[in-house]
């Protein structure tokens, strides 16, 4: 066994698709994770915020190549060319159901389930000949895609009985305060308004309006090349700036919010007031230290870190533990040091391509 993926979520799943496309058989890839369904975690979160449409566009899928995008399957499903036209104009967003159907189809076709070993990995250790996972191995090439290290809670609300996190299942009270300014918060504003609630938005700063969660040039070498050249401190600052809360511009959000504001049902305040319910749309915890596997990896191998990010090569590999014979790479949110949008599907594909290139160029394979 030469290749392992730690994490059975969407980032690991996307990497698995790329590896299969790259010529690896099911039996050559071991996937370690707690769920066989790669969308299990994501599905719960999407359902919690009643998400119906993806923020990503046609290429927001788990195939190894951007083509064909989800707009093509939507054309077949909807029997209309509209998805393609919208895709050309960057206005196509697959529905959550379309995306999940796509994941299910890829799961069956790729033999994913046969490669999954239902086990949580707690330790990655570099040894002669590769990397051991909880003593199993060694594996020549390991991709660690552990997902987000838990939900982020504002400290003052951690023990507040009114508080619920946006990504946890919840209903809506008659008065709701939503903390946060990203897409989840914006979605929750609309959800609570639609449920008849009076909504208060609490946020530290005005949200950025952007179609994707980072500017488009950072999805290609056009923007990445200069990002990769930044000094560590500047790069961390750039990352913090890029990863600030944002949600897309457009009438889908603006019209109901303006209408509700005119009716006195939506307003912005600086702090949490006396609402019956407080929804924390504050995303996820950030930094390797919150993930036990990564924290141990850093500690035991003395890996270089900057402001909570593990320093990575541009392709997402941990340079200190990778060479011509072995690879340790990260995918998903921990790979933001290499690719700011690493926690998106495009980011998962980027990490997968980098990992595949490393394997392809390995002289021991």
């Amino acid at each position: 066994m030469g290749v392992a993926i730690v994490g059975s979520g969407l980032a690991g799943f996307t990497a698995y698709q790329a590896l299969r496309r790259g010529g690896l058989e099911q039996g050559e890839i071991a996937v370690f994770g707690t769920e066989a369904d790669p969308a299990a975690t994501w599905r719960v979160r999407a359902a919690a915020i009643r998400q119906r449409e993806m923020r990503s566009e046609s290429d927001g899928h788990t195939r190894p190549a951007t083509f064909p995008g989800l707009a093509f399957s939507s054309v077949r499903r909807r029997r209309s060319l509209r998805p393609l036209v919208e895709s050309v104009c960057d206005r196509y967003h697959p529905t959550v159901d379309e995306f999940l159907a796509h994941v299910e189809e890829r799961r069956e076709r790729s033999g994913w389930d046969q490669s999954v070993r239902a086990r949580r990995v707690e330790r990655v250790e570099a040894v002669d000949g590769g990397l051991e996972l909880d003593g199993e191995g060694p594996f020549a090439h390991v991709l660690v895609a552990p997902g987000h290290p838990g939900l982020a809670w504002p400290e003052e609300l951690r023990i507040d009985p009114r508080a619920v996190h946006a990504y946890e299942p919840h209903g809506y009270a008659s008065s709701v305060t939503v903390v946060g300014a990203g897409l989840a918060a914006a979605t929750e504003w609309l959800n609570a308004l639609a449920a008849g609630a009076e909504v208060v938005s609490v946020r530290r700063r005005e949200p950025r309006r952007a179609p994707l969660n980072v500017p488009r040039e950072y999805f290609s070498q056009r923007g990445l090349a200069s990002f990769h050249r930044l000094a560590p401190g500047e790069r961390a600052a750039r990352l913090r700036d890029l990863l600030g809360a944002s949600y897309p511009a457009g009438r889908r959000f603006d019209e109901p919010l303006e209408r509700a504001a005119r009716e006195g049902r939506f307003r912005v305040e600086q702090s949490v007031n006396g609402s019956e319910q407080v929804i924390c749309a504050t995303g996820f915890r950030r930094g390797f230290a919150h993930d036990p596997l990564l924290a141990r990896l850093v500690t035991e191998h003395g890996l270089e870190t900057v402001d909570g990010w593990i320093v990575l090569a541009p392709d997402g590999a941990v340079a200190a533990l990778s060479d011509a014979t072995r690879t340790l790479a990260l995918a998903g949110a921990p790979a933001q040091w290499a690719f700011p949008a690493a926690d998106t599907l495009a980011g998962a594909r980027y990490a997968a391509h980098g990992f595949l290139r490393r394997i392809a160029s390995c002289r021991t394979r």
Binding site: P215, S220, R357
Partner: protein, 394 residues
């Protein structure tokens, strides 16, 4: 897509490969240069736009931008073809561009991402594929040059002496006569792009006949003894330079007759010497430039531009014509400049006033602009009849 500069260039070069192949096919099938010239212009204009404009202005290029950018590049291509004198059928040139544009879209959105998984995130860079595309394009252009060389028209040398005709030319070629080469019985052109050079033609129904073919060049040919016309052109484009046509003894034939070519562009008769015949040089429904010719002893008119023709009659010398020296007739539009008409004799004895020996005559709704003509030594100088218009310019 957010292209890197290298990605833009590599993607463009790779996308031009099928266009080059198509252009080669068209060039080979039509024996024309323009498709390859057009590809060269597309490449040059595209690279300039990539490096000087697109890369600077477009940090991100949405899919829909391909339409206005394509329209811009098409306009630029048409302009460059006009400026550089590339003679291409516009519809075909647009079709070639449109096909290339469509191929570029299919390649950029589908084929390249499938061939190279990291195509999008690498900003359109194609790695080895890009380098291969550049090499292939270079090889393709070199091959194009070879094809161009191979497509040069073959030269057929006609030896000195008399060759029995009629000689029928059915392929694109250069027929080059050695001094003293004579074809008896006429030459019939039945192919586009034929050049006949330094050949004398004696006899024949028509001396040289071109019906329905384009791009014929007659260079230093001489014709005599034709039963009908000396040089007879119908529905074809022709350039006649430095010819000699002897129609003496044939009062009903035309020296040079170019008719019904209004849809095939401009023809030209330049530097010819025509003697005798009904008309020395005559055009019907044609666009023709008639310049620097010597015409004499004709029975109806020395030079006649008629039947809704358009063109220039310039710097010719017409001598001893009967009835009319230069005629612009039947709703034609003529520029008549710097001609010398001498010795035109009256043919009006039967009462036809239009045959009174005019140096220049404008007849039946025609319009002529005259300037710098010497018409003084004729039976009459200028005649304007039947709702025609003659404007004299200083």
């Amino acid at each position: 897509m957010s292209y890197t500069l290298r990605g833009r260039i590599e993607s463009r070069l790779a996308a031009l490969l099928p266009v080059l192949v198509a252009a080669l096919a068209i060039a080979l099938s039509e024996h024309r240069w323009w498709p390859l010239q057009a590809v060269g212009l597309m490449l040059g204009a595209g690279l300039v736009l990539d490096t000087q404009a697109y890369h600077r202005v477009l940090r991100y290029q949405p899919g829909w931008a391909a339409l206005p950018l394509g329209a811009l590049e098409l306009g630029l291509l048409v302009l460059l073809m006009h400026v550089t004198g590339v003679m291409a059928p516009l519809a075909q040139a647009i079709a070639l561009f449109a096909g290339g544009w469509l191929a570029a879209q299919l390649l950029g959105h589908a084929a390249f991402p499938l061939l190279r998984l990291g195509y999008a995130e690498e900003g359109g860079e194609l790695g080895r594929l890009g380098a291969a595309a550049a090499v292939l394009l270079g090889v393709g252009l070199a091959a194009s040059a070879s094809v161009a060389y191979a497509l040069r028209p073959p030269v057929v040398h006609l030896a000195a002496g008399v060759h029995q005709g009629p000689l029928v030319i059915t392929r694109r070629e250069v027929l080059s006569g050695e001094p003293g080469a004579i074809v008896r019985g006429g030459i019939v052109v039945r192919a586009n792009g034929v050049t006949i050079r330094n050949v004398s033609v004696v006899g024949g129904e028509n001396g040289i006949s071109i019906e329905g073919y384009r791009n014929t060049v007659l260079d230093h040919v001489s014709v005599s003894g034709a039963k009908l016309d000396g040089i007879h052109v119908r529905l074809g484009g022709v350039m006649i330079k430095d010819c000699s046509v002897d129609m003496l003894g044939n009062p009903l034939g035309q020296g040079i007759d170019i008719s019904y070519n209004i849809g095939v562009g401009m023809s030209m008769v330049d530097g010819c010497n025509v003697v005798g015949g009904m008309n020395g040089i005559v055009t019907h429904s044609s666009m023709t430039e008639i310049a620097r010719n010597h015409v004499s002893r004709t029975q109806i008119a020395g030079i006649s531009m008629t039947e809704m023709s358009m063109g220039k009659i310039q710097s010719n010398e017409v001598r001893d014509a009967l009835g009319v020296g230069i005629n612009c007739g039947d709703r034609s539009m003529c520029e008549i400049r710097k001609n010398v008409v001498i010795g035109t004799r009256s043919d009006a004895a039967g009462g036809n006033k239009t045959r009174a020996g005019f140096g220049v005559e404008v007849l039946f709704g025609a319009e002529a602009e005259l300037s710098g003509n010497d018409l003084t030594r004729n039976a009459a100088t200028l005649g304007v009849f039947q709702s025609s218009l003659a404007r004299r310019e200083r």
